[in-house]
Symmetry: C2
Subunit: 499 residues, 2 copies
């Protein structure tokens, strides 16, 4: 067996373990009985440890060292080189961190998440503070082991957005923040509440929502032969190659479920668009978290919350829900695009969303640059919230304690959400340029062309191209926040009568 | 860490992998999308291989060799000795078989099962014959590697019934067959069809059946905090320590679902009765397949199909199903205890059931003793069917091709089903002796005392005691088929008017 084939075999074995871990995670969040947490934790810990051992084994190291030699590289074609590059990255990020530090992180995370849950419940930041401090300390250590270009945070963000650094993110986020803040304050000054009353006092039977969602996912191109749709508290998508599962949640008070469904379907179409011959292959994965998010946001917002899509969907909704008979399509459209500053990120509209992220980014970067002390986090959060959205949370459970990420040690993750929104604007513009009649397609409920375009141009390449290269291939330029800003202006000015 | 603690750690790790494998199997049979089979097979193969490597590792071998030395044994208490004994058994059964043979068996089984499916579909024994021959050949090899007392079949049956041999099984099955045959032919000569028409032409809404089953399992003591009930084609129970799941199937034409539910609940109560401090411990498992089956049969037949239970259940059924209003409890009781020779084992009543097993046992033992040639299997089957049940299947899909076991190489498995029935009769007699008012309890729907008796006397001991020892502890004697025969006579004579 050639060294390259050996590497492919290791990749396949790792992916098998990953699929098992993913199923354990899916089950834990859908059907696992509540008393099964202890056994489940042990099972996951054992498999994670086996995965780690395999990825950082002497065998893997040997293969990777050999394949990175100049003489070997010369024998490889472009796909093979990319495969070696990605496996090398995966290997190094784990190999460089000592086992005892990994074990400590795992233990600290368990305690920290449990402390965070209590702290959030009691809305008491002080309960979480020592755990936040510990997590930051450990992640700084990790950053030193992994290495970085300019500053420790770079090593963390690289986990989620390969090729990105704090500096690069700042160069995008700074102008974005200014633009978004100015759009938001302009909107708020108008004090208009579009579509007010569309959902008020109405009930939307959940079984009907479920059947509409089920059909909608299929219409968008989701393949139920290789997936399934279940209910959860926090919707998520899990990709296991030929088995890509989505989940959704439903409230009878509104129709938010339609958009969370489209969000998860966007993720799922990415996973289902990966080429089957690359299942288990080092390249058979998404480019980055941000790219994944771009696919969910594109379907949720650029398709789902568009005028054209409402032309297609709203009559269907009216025929299912008699309480929408007297609602105009225009009001419905305005309601689902209402801009309203909120304390909670996951409830934010598409205009304010990236400001929620910018706030978190400012804060975590400040923590890692040691310009902010952990104990100041709560106050910094509140001040920034006021600065960006003109609201101040009354308690930390609606502020600094609202997200699970930091308690799990996931520093550097938040930017991906905002980058996803930025990518989606830029990608959608490119799709519009390439597909004549895209709006007409959406209007008529034909999504195949867009889906195929995304598949051909993005999904089928797995992570062969890094984010920056892929963005250039797709759009002729690197990531540019202006697409997002222009899209928002163009869409929201009519809604808010700003033109 | 002491060598014994090292062994416990290995046992914990193995159990974690096993829990993951079990969840993969559960999911495959409940919720997995149909297009996900390929990925799933790879995932299972990888985990199975990791499990095998761990169990047969040099580390495990070293621990086991050390702990079996006389000097070490002297340091161990009884539980520890039993733990070492069971781990040694597990280890040796795998370690002695060379890797390439295991891999060949795995490949052959895949092909063989697929050939069996086709053969059964087309009812063409010849399509399966070469695979049957290959499986027998491989299992003979395995038997040689593992070693045996008298004959190769002993090595196979030991997998499912530790401590049993062909000779021992024969000494039980031979008198059992004679007795059962005579009971059956007496019944058939009467040509009575008790409870005829109880289900005929009636429909029982499945949603109602489901809710009755859900409640019934809870009444018997099944703990939903550590389990769940789902629907499948072939009901099964899967035990993952603090997560024991049952499944059931439903037909609107009858109420068989109640008894399959009680069967699976019986299995589940065994698993849920294992002591939590032994999760992952070498002793935290069932004694044997036969003992497991004894628990399911005890609840299904000795409780579920009893007069007392009907007193409890039937009024409930009548209030749920208005089409049972005109049916008498007595007729219902007779109907669910109808004895009717059938071609299909899984549809057999409790009188004929063990004859189905005896037939398979005769055949597989004959094959391994080389007294029967594989190509004769179909005819031998038909002749034995006529001999035992006085019916002859018209095609092999209702005969020799009906069970999956041989295509999966599971020779030596069938006796467990019959042993389960025998154990359950003997155990139930012992429970009756110990629990005064057991019948009254059942009549009133109070199952706690019986369940606790089973837990205290059987479940909580895991596999500390081997089957023979456990039987003696429970009943003062070894396995004795007469309890089964006496039970059947006592129960069925009134039903068939034989007294």
């Amino acid at each position: 067996m050639s060294t390259y084939d050996e590497l492919l075999k290791i990749s396949e074995q790792l992916r098998s373990m990953e699929r098992a871990l993913y199923l354990l995670a899916w089950d834990e969040r859908t059907y696992m009985p509540k008393g099964a947490l202890e056994g489940r934790s042990k099972t996951k810990a054992e498999l994670s440890s086996l995965y780690h051992k395999k990825l950082t084994s002497e065998k893997t190291k040997e293969c990777i060292e050999k394949l990175n030699k100049e003489s070997k590289q010369a024998e490889l074609d472009d796909v093979e080189k990319a495969a070696v590059r990605e496996m090398t990255r995966d290997f190094e990020r784990k190999y460089k961190v000592p086992d005892d530090l990994i074990q400590e992180m795992s233990k600290v995370s368990t305690k920290s998440q449990s402390a965070w849950e209590k702290a959030r419940e009691k809305s008491d930041f002080e309960l979480f503070l020592p755990h936040l401090e510990k997590q930051i300390e450990l992640k700084k250590e990790v950053a030193e082991y992994i290495g970085y270009e300019n500053e420790p945070y770079d090593a963390l963000v690289e986990e989620f957005e390969p090729g990105f650094t704090a500096e690069k993110i700042e160069s995008i986020f700074e102008p974005m923040k200014k633009e978004l803040s100015s759009i938001v304050s302009e909107m708020l000054s108008i004090n208009k509440k579009p579509g007010e009353g569309v959902f008020k006092g109405k009930k939307f039977p959940i079984e009907k929502q479920k059947s509409i969602c089920r059909e909608l996912a299929a219409d968008l191109g989701y393949d139920y032969d290789h997936g399934r749709l279940d209910e959860t508290v926090h919707p998520f998508t899990i990709g296991m190659d030929d088995d890509v599962r989505i989940t959704n949640r439903y409230s009878e008070d509104n129709l938010t479920s339609l958009f969370s469904l489209m969000h998860e379907t966007g993720h799922a179409l990415y996973e289902q668009g990966l080429p089957p011959e690359w299942y288990g292959h080092p390249l058979g994965k998404r480019i980055s978290m941000g790219f994944h998010e771009s696919q969910s946001r594109l379907w949720e917002n650029f398709v789902g919350r568009s005028q054209e899509f409402m032309d297609y969907l709203f009559p269907k909704l009216q025929s299912e829900f008699s309480n929408l008979k007297d609602v105009s399509k225009e009001d419905f459209y305005r309601r689902i695009n209402r801009v309203k500053p909120t304390f909670i990120r996951v409830e934010a509209d598409e205009v304010t969303y990236n400001l929620h992220i910018a706030l978190r980014y400012d804060l975590e970067l400040g923590l890692f640059r040691e310009e902010i002390e952990p104990e100041e986090s709560k106050v910094v959060w509140e001040n920034k919230m006021e600065e960006y959205l003109d609201i101040v949370p009354e308690d930390p459970s609606h502020g600094v304690l609202q997200d699970v990420h930091w308690s799990a040690g996931q520093f550097g993750y938040f930017p991906s959400y905002a980058l996803g929104n930025l990518y989606s604007a830029q990608i959608f513009q490119s799709a519009k340029d390439d597909i004549s009649g895209l709006k007409q397609n959406i209007y008529e409920g034909r999504f195949q062309q867009l889906r195929e375009w995304l598949r051909d141009n993005i999904h089928q390449h797995g992570r062969r191209y890094k984010a920056e290269e892929m963005t250039k291939r797709l759009t002729g330029e690197g990531l540019n926040e202006n697409y997002h800003i222009e899209y928002l202006k163009e869409k929201y000015e009519p809604i808010y009568g700003l033109v």
